[in-house]
């Protein structure tokens, strides 16, 4: 911690021994800003995709659908029986038989608006909202089947599982993108640090001749690149957050994109991570370079 503070506060005298290099400095800040920008966008997308998927999955998990056999003669009796069973089942919060209009609305995308529902044998649907703790779906199915042959309890597992899997994969891609961005920041800083050390070979030689230790020389470079990467990343993060704010609300989806709660740690962490990556990359480059000299 003290080392880090020293690094940030710095020794102005020691800092001056390396001449300021305009173009490398600006490019480092620029690339760091761009990378941080991309990292924030990738994180926002993957975090919010995960969040949306989680919410859908949760809604699906709470609600189940009961489908009664399409038998016009016994429909009313079966519905009454089913509701009775459901009412006496622990873990069921509420049940509601869908009205004809609702069922028609569900079918509309497939059959159009002029479907004569009353003349067609359509299975009656019942919406079941689970309680906390929820009922046991297999036990309920068994009890229902005993009374009403052909009844189907759909707890939406077939929808939920692929949704969760997809959300997990999106998250994974998000992390992979962050890792790749981190690796390219490290590569870019290493290149820049090597270029800077080569351009300052005479300075490094004189410093060695008058008795400077490697850490002293390395620190002058490390401090610069750590600060540049950190400052660039802050600029990139701020820009990304602004862009996320003004993103058009594309049918509600983009309204979800962003950070919330603990997710806000990331916009704060990215500049820190960029600085840490720059610190180690520059230090490794400087030490490797200095070893080649007397």
């Amino acid at each position: 911690m003290k080392g880090l503070l020293d690094l940030i506060v710095g020794d102005p005298q020691a800092d001056r021994v390396v001449p300021p290099t305009g173009v490398t400095a600006r490019l480092t800040i620029f690339v760091s800003a761009v990378m941080a920008f991309l990292a924030i966008i990738a994180l926002a997308l993957s975090l919010s995709t995960g969040r949306v998927a989680d919410r859908w999955a949760e809604e699906l998990a709470q609600a189940a659908t009961l489908r009664l056999p399409a038998d016009p003669e016994q429909a009313d009796a079966q519905l009454a029986k089913a509701l009775e069973i459901l009412e006496t089942t622990p873990g069921v919060a509420s049940t509601r038989a869908l009205t004809n209009e609702e069922q028609q609305a569900l079918l509309e995308p497939w059959f159009g608006t002029d479907l004569p529902l009353d003349t067609l044998p359509i299975p009656q649907l019942v919406e079941i909202i689970a309680d906390e703790p929820a009922y046991d779906p297999e036990g309920l199915q068994a009890r229902l089947t005993a009374e009403i042959p052909g009844v189907v309890l759909d707890d939406h597992a077939t929808w939920r599982d692929p949704l969760l899997a997809a959300a997990g994969r999106v998250r994974l891609i998000g992390w992979a993108v962050i890792l790749l961005i981190g690796a390219s920041v490290a590569a870019m800083i290493t290149l820049a640090a090597h270029a800077s050390l080569a351009a300052n070979a005479q300075v490094v030689r004189v410093l060695r001749l008058v008795g400077a230790r490697d850490v002293y020389i390395a620190r002058a470079f490390v401090r610069r690149y750590t600060l540049r990467a950190g400052l660039g990343a802050i600029a990139g993060v701020v820009l990304a957050l602004i862009v996320l704010q003004i993103l058009p609300d594309g049918g509600g989806f983009f309204a979800e994109v962003g950070f919330d709660g603990a997710g806000w740690i990331w916009p704060l962490m990215i500049p820190l991570l960029a600085a840490i990556v720059a610190f180690f990359a520059t230090r490794a480059a400087a030490i490797a370079r200095l070893r080649e000299q007397t």
């Binding site: 005298q13 021994v17 008795g211 070893r291």
Partner: protein, 224 residues
């Protein structure tokens, strides 16, 4: 202080000298002469571990230079003030900052102020202290290099042609500084091919004159 023991060295495979031995005793004063290209600068660079002996041993302050790590070399150099033949400055730092550099890198900046002013006026660089090294004349650069070499009050002072570009009066002034430091107990080694300088100092200091020629190091008192 510094000891070369049967040392061999050659640039790019061609041997410059072999089995050469030299001991700089504490408080001693020696001149190193020899024709241009004989290897004087090379020999001095071995003495401050800028080059490593290809055979034989170099000892700095009792420690085998080949066993010193990079920090060890840095620490040894803080005890050796060097005037390089090509001066070696950091061109974007002012003359004063360059002269104070050994203190700066050793974390002893606070000691610089008093010493620095005195030294600058001694070497006659007071008015030039804020200028950059590339703006200095050859002689001014040598004076600045000498000031930098002695600012740490090092145990050993190694000077490679420190008076090559200055007039006779200034060279006497610079050398008298080295003689003064030698009287305070510092070990001094000066490489020069100007025998007049050696003669002029003969009465002031008990100096050994070494001659490097054809890879051989001989004591050359009789030559003068």
């Amino acid at each position: 202080m510094i000891e070369l023991d049967n040392v061999s060295y050659g640039h790019n495979g061609t041997a410059l000298f072999s089995q050469l031995s030299l001991t700089l005793a504490p408080g001693s004063f020696q001149f190193l002469t020899g024709p241009s290209g004989a290897g004087k600068t090379t020999l001095l660079r071995l003495c401050y571990a800028d080059l490593r002996a290809q055979k034989g041993k170099t000892r700095l302050f009792g420690q085998d230079a080949s066993t010193l790590d990079r920090d060890g070399v840095a620490m040894s150099r803080r005890r050796i003030g060097v005037v390089h033949q090509d001066c070696q400055f950091i061109d974007h730092l002012s003359v004063a900052e360059n002269i104070a550099l050994p203190l700066t890198v050793a974390g002893r900046v606070s000691e610089a102020a008093g010493n620095l002013k005195e030294l600058l006026s001694w070497v006659g660089l007071g008015p030039q202290s804020g200028r950059l090294p590339p703006e200095l004349s050859g002689g001014e650069r040598q004076r600045a290099a000498l000031a930098r070499a002695v600012i740490m009050s090092p145990d050993v002072i190694i000077a490679d042609e420190p008076t090559g570009n200055v007039d006779w009066e200034m060279s006497q002034r610079l050398l008298s500084l080295l003689v003064e430091l030698n009287r305070m107990g510092k070990t001094v080694l000066i490489a020069t091919h100007d025998l007049n300088i050696i003669r002029s100092l003969k009465s002031d200091v008990d100096a050994r004159v070494l001659r490097l020629k054809d890879g051989q190091l001989t004591t050359a008192g009789s030559v003068l």
